[in-house]
């Protein structure tokens, strides 16, 4: 099968002016992906489906990903951005940069006819609040129908051109998008013996006490 770069070059020849770039996957799997602009996404998807060399007739998996706004701190001494978020031991001049957040939809395409894949497509929304629209690929692959509804439900990505965009997993009156990183759960905390750090943090808020960790588990059972 052609590599992501080759597919990009062929797509650029076919759709001049389209925004297509290759997103490199630094991991071992090396499944690189194609980031598409919203304008040509559906035409490109149809081309990928019908092209004789690719014949990506199956859209296997549709996923949403939330990328919240991230503050990236760069020190002037070392130009490499600090992955740990910058521990404050360096007294060098630091520059803060806000990487804008977005919601991303990832499509994994396979070809049943030619038995190859995956080709990974990515679509991004403008931001996480008011520009959360991407074109729907359900008209191209029927498999996207429920999965795009799920991404809409859990992430709040609005798919333009989806035939039936409703919530699928949560109830209709539900207002939040729970898979987003900044989702706050309803506060129905209940004490439980657990070593999970996040749960212990919650316990501190609900049962203000000198030390939660000092409580023996056997004595804190349900009454």
């Amino acid at each position: 099968m052609e590599s992501a770069e080759q597919i990009r070059d062929r797509l650029l020849a076919q759709f001049p002016g389209a925004e297509i770039s290759v997103v490199t996957n630094p991991g071992v799997a090396a499944q690189h992906s194609l980031l598409l602009g919203a304008a040509h996404a559906r035409a490109i998807a149809e081309f990928l489906r019908d092209d004789a060399n690719l014949k990506l007739d199956q859209c296997s998996n549709v996923t949403g990903i939330d990328w919240p706004e991230k503050e990236i701190i760069e020190t002037t001494k070392s130009t490499v951005p600090d992955p740990a978020g910058g521990p404050a031991k360096v007294v060098e001049l630091k520059t803060k940069r806000i990487q804008p957040g977005c919601l991303e939809v990832v499509y994994h395409l396979y070809s049943i006819a030619l038995r190859h894949g995956p080709v990974v497509l990515r679509l991004r929304t403008g931001n996480r609040t008011d520009q959360s629209t991407v074109p729907s690929l359900t008209p191209v692959w029927r498999a996207c129908e429920f999965q795009e509804r799920e991404v809409f439900d859990l992430y709040g990505v609005v798919f333009e051109g989806h035939p039936d965009l409703r919530r699928i997993l949560m109830w209709d009156a539900f207002k939040d998008h729970p898979m987003r990183r900044d989702y706050v759960e309803p506060d129905d905390y209940e004490w439980e013996p657990t070593p999970h750090g996040a749960v212990l943090e919650k316990a501190k808020a609900h049962y203000p006490a000198p030390s939660v960790a000092a409580v023996p588990a056997a004595e804190g059972a349900k009454p």
Partner: protein, 390 residues
């Protein structure tokens, strides 16, 4: 009333009859089947619009078992998600384990020793036997044979579960596979037990098929019901036995050749009508192929370590990157899409649920069928709600 009187009522040729019929042709009836219904598989709900007994519209409603697997997976370590995968498709925990282990191994570039690959194949095929047997039992229950086939199926299921339990310590939730191998090494006794079971399974299938396959009532009830065309099946992302029942030759064990499957000699059964009966037959034939794979794997299992000695389980932090790994589960392509940002928890943990995506075309299969057929069409899709809603 004479013949001339009759003809004065309307034009000849039966239009009078149609006019009378139209008076009865009243409103459409909307029926909510589920979320609790004896013949729905778990807490699944369909809003069915009926014209008489014929389905004119069907909208599935999901989410009654939405247990937030993906959110929990993002808040726990890689290894911590392994027990959760058991509870996705709770009839086939071993294949879920494998799919997840495979995705993580892809993400981290982790090799797997040969013995572990063989054990995985053995367990996956046992799971396929278990799942397909239970499915056939449940499907027959949906058709109206209340009890008997399901009793037979669960009798065999218990035998397989005994094997799983003696190996992993749990009947259903095995939590057995690890990144880079398996948790415990099966003993020679265990392998003997698996061999005995494999050798006896063919006889059970013969018995089962004598009861069901040529049964006239079952044929009348299932043949031509819920047809699916290959083109629609491919476009809708249908995988597994559902896809192969339409005649599309696509089995990931052959296509991807993951694990040690290329070493085994087996065929991919294909249907030609894509109806409920074909889906039942495909599962029976796949079980026969599974028996073939099992006896080859049990005969050829090599000695050696069960875990890669360099594999890291606690404090496991794969490098930043992403990977999509998939295997041929009993219900179809089960895949995991993982994004790592270098931390101990996955940044994104996505499950590609086969039975959820296979339900995309439920309405297309049910349109024009009767309401009783909707039940067996749903049964033939083989859904497990833990996986549909996650």
């Amino acid at each position: 009333m004479s013949v001339s009187d009759l003809s004065s009522l309307g034009s000849p040729g039966g239009s009078h009859v149609r006019a009378v019929h139209d008076e009865f042709h009243g409103d459409l009836l909307e029926v909510s089947m589920g979320p609790h219904h004896p013949s729905t598989h778990g807490v699944f709900r369909m809003i069915v619009t009926l014209d008489g007994e014929t389905i004119v519209k069907l909208k599935p409603v999901f989410g009654y078992l939405h247990r937030n697997h993906e959110k929990l997976g993002e808040n726990t370590s890689y290894l911590g998600s392994m027990p959760y995968t058991d509870r996705l498709d709770y009839l086939s925990s071993m294949t879920n384990n494998w799919a997840y282990a495979l995705a993580v191994e892809k993400l981290a570039g982790q090799p797997v020793p040969e013995r572990a690959e063989y054990v995985r194949v053995i367990l996956a095929e046992l799971t396929r036997l278990l799942n397909h047997t239970c499915l056939a039992g449940f499907l027959m229950q949906d058709c109206g044979c209340s009890g008997t086939p399901l009793m037979y199926a669960f009798r065999e299921r218990e035998k397989i579960l005994d094997l799983f339990e003696s190996l992993s310590g749990s009947r259903m939730m095995c939590n057995y596979q690890r990144f880079g191998g398996c948790r415990v090494d099966p003993s020679a006794d265990w392998l003997d037990g698996a061999k005995k079971l494999t050798d006896g399974y063919g006889a059970f299938l013969d018995e089962f098929e004598t009861l069901l396959t040529g049964n006239e009532i079952i044929m009348a009830r299932t043949q031509g019901v819920g047809r699916l065309s290959p083109a629609l099946a491919i476009s809708a992302g249908v995988t597994g036995p559902m896809l192969r029942a339409t005649g599309v030759n696509y089995d990931l064990r052959k296509v991807d050749g993951y694990g040690v499957y290329p070493r085994f000699d087996f065929r991919v059964p294909l249907g030609d009508h894509g109806d409920v009966y074909d889906r039942y037959m495909i599962r029976v034939l796949e079980m026969r192929e599974s028996i073939k794979i099992l006896s080859q794997a049990l005969a050829g299992i090599p000695a050696g370590p069960i875990m890669d000695p360099k594999a890291k389980l606690r404090g496991f932090r794969p490098k930043a990157g992403e990977a999509y790994g998939r295997i041929e589960g009993p219900k179809g392509e089960i895949g995991f899409f993982l994004i790592s940002d270098g931390s101990p928890n996955p940044y994104r943990y996505r499950i590609r649920p086969p039975s959820f995506i296979n339900l995309t075309i439920l309405e297309d299969m049910c349109l024009g069928q009767t309401v009783a057929d909707a039940v067996i069409i749903l049964g033939s899709v083989d859904i497990v709600l833990g996986e549909v809603d996650r």
